[in-house]
């Protein structure tokens, strides 16, 4: 008896990849995919990332961050009614949404960098669609068993057992879906308070509508649509092709080593044949339902579960692992030429993307650090442009807006630069003095007059409004103009 005879037989799976090479119908009805459970390093990594990403998603709204008495203490909060976005120590006002642009550029560049180096790692591990689909498949496996028993169950006639399993599965799915939608609304309101309102059915109707909508989408996309979302709805697979090159990591089947494939019996020699035993395990575990041996395809999300499946088989038949492996096209060529395959991380693309990330991040950090804690804007009254007073002086009216970004009352003083002898006064307030009190975290509008005496009247002049915080001495400036009669 040889060692091979002691080895357990490899199970060959009867499975058809969704996009088999060759001619296929353009309008094909979707065939249901029953992904088999994989075991291995990539599967472990995927479990870990699922836990990490889901934890971030569900826990974030519950983190607290003390901002003082007049501000919410939720670390991440999108306060739509008050039009504020809180992110730990950062507080973004509506006029500062350009930070979101910066954040989007950073995200895009990050995605480009990831795509150029490690391929579709985002798709395979971190994309919400992948994470929740994975979770939903795990739940399905819990109630209905792995691939074979699921197929058997679907083929079986309706019985109490089948109904019980199906109902349990869908109820579990729906609970996860509702929890998903439920967690999302906590980003938009004070989480503990909203949670109490939600269970007492006292929250606003839109809250429940949003939970319902997101739950419906999670249930449909994660439970039913699954890989169809990636293949047919998501634009990313198409964009991906433009970002990848021959040095990008992809999941690759080593055809030179694997072919010619064929079933292999214990004790049989490996001479004159490939290492691929054609067991179809790589197809069975694929959540996208493809056959990686047909080469890189649009559907492949690089989750590498086929590597896990194949390595398990290689271990069983006593062949070296990584017949299917994570590598680049260049590495595959090098291997074919019997050179040592080398992963080339540093190249034009990676320098460009990293450089842009550094530059944009630096700009954002600078903008964030140097943004004013008080800002102001002035609108010149246009009807009338100016008013001649009975003593011959000329007066212009302005609407002055002062934004106080501190969480306390502040007092500001207004003066103008560029117009000698001008008198500044406000409508209302004590004695019309140009002193303004702005409440915490608010923008207030005031009407102010600038008057120049008869002997200094000009037809038009630029001038600058200077708002000074009497407490801290912070200064905000804004330009405007002064209009007078043309003579």
């Amino acid at each position: 008896m040889t060692d091979a005879a002691l080895m357990p037989p490899v199970e060959t799976v009867d499975v058809e990849p969704v996009n088999k090479k060759g001619r296929r119908a353009l309008h094909k009805k979707r065939s249901k995919i029953y992904p088999k459970r994989a075991r291995g390093n990539f599967r472990k990594f995927k479990w870990i990332l699922m836990i990490v990403t889901l934890t971030i998603y569900y826990v974030t709204p519950w983190l607290r961050w003390d901002r003082g008495v007049n501000a919410p203490d939720q670390a991440v909060l999108l306060d739509l009614p008050a039009r504020r976005f809180y992110f730990f120590f950062i507080e973004i006002w509506p006029q500062e949404v350009f930070f979101i642009t910066g954040l989007l550029i950073l995200s895009a560049m990050g995605l480009f960098l990831t795509a150029a180096t490690v391929g579709r790692a985002w798709c395979g591990y971190a994309c919400p669609q992948t994470v929740w689909t994975d979770l939903f498949i795990a739940v399905e496996r819990f109630w209905e068993g792995d691939r074979n028993s699921r197929m058997r169950l679907d083929g079986a006639s309706w019985s109490f057992g089948k109904i019980a399993r199906k109902v349990s599965k869908h109820v579990s799915w729906l609970l996860i879906a509702v929890a998903t939608g439920g967690a999302w609304v906590f980003y938009f309101a004070d989480a503990p308070g909203l949670a109490v309102d939600l269970v007492n059915f006292e929250a606003a109707t839109p809250t429940y509508v949003w939970i319902g909508l997101l739950a419906a989408f999670t249930y449909t996309f994660g439970g039913h649509a699954r890989e169809a979302v990636c293949t047919y709805m998501c634009p990313w697979p198409r964009i991906q092709a433009a970002l990848a090159d021959e040095d990008t990591l992809i999941v690759n089947f080593d055809a030179t080593r694997g072919e010619p494939r064929g079933s292999h019996k214990a004790n049989e020699s490996w001479e004159g044949r490939g290492d691929c035993v054609d067991c179809n395990q790589c197809v069975a575990v694929c959540p996208m339902g493809i056959d990686i041996r047909d080469g890189l395809q649009l559907e492949c999300i690089s989750c590498a579960l086929c590597i896990d499946a194949c390595n398990e088989v290689m271990d069983k038949v006593g062949r070296p692992p990584n017949l299917i492996s994570y590598g680049t096209l260049n590495m595959a060529d090098q291997a074919a030429r019997a050179e040592t395959p080398r992963f080339k991380l540093f190249r034009g693309r990676t320098y460009l993307y990293s450089g842009m990330i550094v530059i944009v991040a630096a700009i954002m950090v600078y903008a964030l650090a140097s943004r004013p804690i008080v800002s102001t804007s002035v609108q010149h009254e246009r009807s009338p442009l100016f008013t001649t007073m009975s003593d011959g002086s000329v007066r212009n009216a302005y609407t002055l807006k002062i934004a106080n970004k501190r969480h306390e009352n502040r007092e500001f003083e207004l003066s103008v630069v560029g117009l000698e002898g001008a008198d500044v006064s406000r409508v209302g307030g004590e004695d019309g003095l140009p002193v303004f009190t702005v409440g915490p975290d608010t923008i207030d509008a005031f009407h102010v007059f600038v008057t120049v005496p008869r002997d200094r009247v000009v037809s038009a002049r630029d001038l600058e409004f200077v708002v000074t915080d009497t407490g801290s001495g912070d200064v905000a400036r804004t330009d405007s103009s002064f209009q007078g009669p043309v003579r």
């Binding site: 309008h27 008013t387 001649t388 007073m389 009216a397 209302g428 009407h447 007059f449």
Partner: protein, 288 residues
């Protein structure tokens, strides 16, 4: 077309048309599209039944829901009025001075006054109360009939030379047209008015004009030319001119007289609205 070509690659029928050697596949419409189309038809029929839809000769079908856009607007106006009534009641009770001292009431009055001004007053006084020749600028600090809130409110109520019984009334005579003064005397008095309003003038003519002014004009404009507000006699010594302060304009005024008219708003606008208008106009910055 009797026969259909079959596309070699896909085995699909083609439409039979050919463009530069390219034939379009006669692919079936996707099922989801067809279902969506059916749903839109069902929705359309249901909408026709539920909502007003089909125009008839004299009327239209009302729909089972009985929705009417006019009625909805009417209801919104009623609701808005009801929501405002808290403020409107308080404005009715409060005096003009009190309104000015209560911030939320003041804001409501200014906002309401502004919208009433746009509808009723801006035609003559301009969108921001800037006025025009013949129509006073309400932003400045010259007031022929008084510029405190009470006086503004009264002016709005009774108008000027209007058909109201208590209307503010005074008449400037047409000194030349009615042959009250000679052309020379008119010229002299114009020079005098230029002098007291601190403008270029002829010294001798102005001196002669002073006598004429004392005899003919001081009963309304005072001997100093500063005007008599009770009579609506404008101040002639300041920089503000309702009909223009140039030599020619002043001469036209003295020779042919000016008699502007402002309608009375009592009976056209309710008291709350008139109060709002007075507060708004006073807040334009020229009020006393």
């Amino acid at each position: 077309m009797a026969e259909h070509d079959i596309d070699e690659v896909t085995g699909q029928r083609t439409t039979g048309h050919e463009w530069d050697g390219i034939r379009e596949l006669n692919s079936p419409i996707p099922r989801w599209w067809i279902y969506t189309f059916y749903v839109t038809i069902a929705w359309g029929i249901a909408f026709m039944i539920a909502m007003p839809s089909i125009p008839l000769v004299n009327d239209y079908t009302k729909g089972v829901l009985g929705y009417s856009q006019r009625e909805a607007v009417r209801q919104e106006i009623v609701d808005a009025r009801a929501a405002q009534s808290v403020f409107r009641d308080r404005i009715e009770q409060a005096s003009l001075e009190e309104i000015r001292d209560i911030p939320d009431l003041f804001d409501f009055a200014v906002a309401g006054g502004k919208s009433a001004f746009s509808v009723n007053c801006s035609q003559c006084h301009g969108a921001g109360g800037a006025g025009a020749p013949g129509f006073p600028n309400l932003n400045d600090d010259a007031w022929i009939w008084g510029g405190n809130p009470r006086e503004i409110f009264d002016t709005i109520r009774v108008g000027i030379r209007s058909d109201h019984d208590d209307t503010r009334f005074n008449q400037m005579p047409a000194f030349l047209a009615d042959e009250l003064l000679t052309r020379a005397e008119v010229n002299d008095v114009v020079e005098y008015v230029l002098q007291i309003s601190d403008q270029d003038h002829e010294q001798e003519a102005a001196a002669r004009g002073q006598t004429v002014f004392r005899e003919q004009c001081s009963s309304c404009h005072q001997e100093s030319g500063k005007g008599i507000r009770e009579l609506g006699g404008p101040n002639l010594t300041d920089a503000i001119w309702l009909y223009g302060g140039s030599r020619d304009e002043i001469r036209k005024t003295v020779a042919n007289a000016r008699n502007g008219v402002m309608p009375a708003w009592e009976g056209r606008l309710d008291e709350v609205t008139r109060k709002q208008l007075a507060v708004y106009v006073h807040a334009l910055g020229g009020g006393e």
